[in-house]
Amino acid sequence: TFEPSTSLTLEEYTRYGRQLTVSQFQSIPGQLSLKNSKILVIGAGGLGCPALLYLTGAGVGKIGIVDDDVVDISNVHRQVLHDTTRVGWFKAESAEWYLRRLNPNVDIQTYCYRLDPLNAFDIFQEYDLILDCTDSPHSRYLINDVACLTGKTIVSGSGVRTEGQLSILNFRNSGPCYRCFYPSPPPPNSVTSCKDGGVIGPVIGLVGVMMALEAIKVLTGWYTEETFKPFLGLYSGYDGLSQSWKCFKMRGKKKECIACGDASNEGKLTRELIQSGAIDYEVWCGVINYNVL
């Protein structure tokens, strides 16, 4: 159980003093918002590691970590929250080991299994904000659909080789979702993962750090329904004079979206539809397979 807190302890004032004094952080109400927040980080890899480090440091009340993978030696160059001594551990538990040392105030909950249509709804309902730190399009569609149906905002990051992307999806149920941006999944052969494509550690690390900052902004109320404008950020680690970042203004929510749009839409997703297996997230990246209906 998680009781909302209305005050900070002396230890918390000291620990968080440097961020509390920055006006954009919203001072003590900002810190209390973090303390009373529950966030779910899906994927404790190249994006999840730095995001978890900074969000645990900043004092989010409860952090859930979903990852069914174990630490491999080839992860450690970029997944710096895991170390060589913990190769073979579940990533979620390896992350927990360090994060508890970093900030014992934070309640860490691990889920050492794969997010799937059957378990996702119950897990999401425990949290206020979802960080999508996964590495495949099918998990991105699944996370999106469940977040839309449970009313959760998603901070979404991705990256491969020398580039990364960042967005906030389904912001307070009023911003566009992943399916608003990408109604049709990409052809399966067009997808490059970190495993295939390689990735420079600080490149994916930078996107993870940016995700932590966007999560702080969402949780502390920096973005409101009035000030939030849908965006897609593109980072490149080897571009221009050194590194580059472009932030594009994006479309709003689409009424005809099957995930976040009007309830009357034909083919509108429901928890029942997703849990029936009608949507093949694994192979078709979230395309509805009407044959099973």
């Binding site: 190249g46 730190c133 491969v160 990408y182 990409p186 993962s193 970190c194 494509g197 593109l234 203004k249």
Partner: protein
């Protein structure tokens, strides 16, 4: 009248454009009385800039930009700017970015 456009191929799309992210092109007018629109630019790119015909399907599907690629007009989603009907102006920056999935 022809228009001068800056093109950006991001998110790994540069691989089918000689591994160059940034290009400057002059799109020639097809008809003096009709202004050039984004659809003309896409045709120009396919006809003149994609060397290997096998690469066309990386960029185009069903006669439009392939799912998973976002098109941006002067840093704004093309959906807010009229998509393929957008009337090009000299100096416009048109960006195409492939979606990244890695993490």
């Amino acid at each position: 009248m022809s228009v001068n456009i800056k093109l950006e191929f991001l998110g790994g799309l540069d691989v089918i454009f000689n591994s160059e992210r940034y290009h400057k092109v002059t799109v020639p007018s097809t008809n003096a009385s009709t202004p050039l629109i984004l659809r003309d630019l896409i045709k120009y790119i396919v006809d003149n800039m994609i060397k290997d015909p096998k690469d066309i399907e990386v960029f185009i599907e069903n006669d439009t930009i392939r799912p998973g690629i976002l098109t941006l007009i002067n840093d704004t989603d093309w959906e807010l700017e009229g998509e393929e009907e957008y009337v090009l102006e000299s100096g416009d920056v048109i960006s195409f970015t492939s979606t990244l999935h890695g993490g």
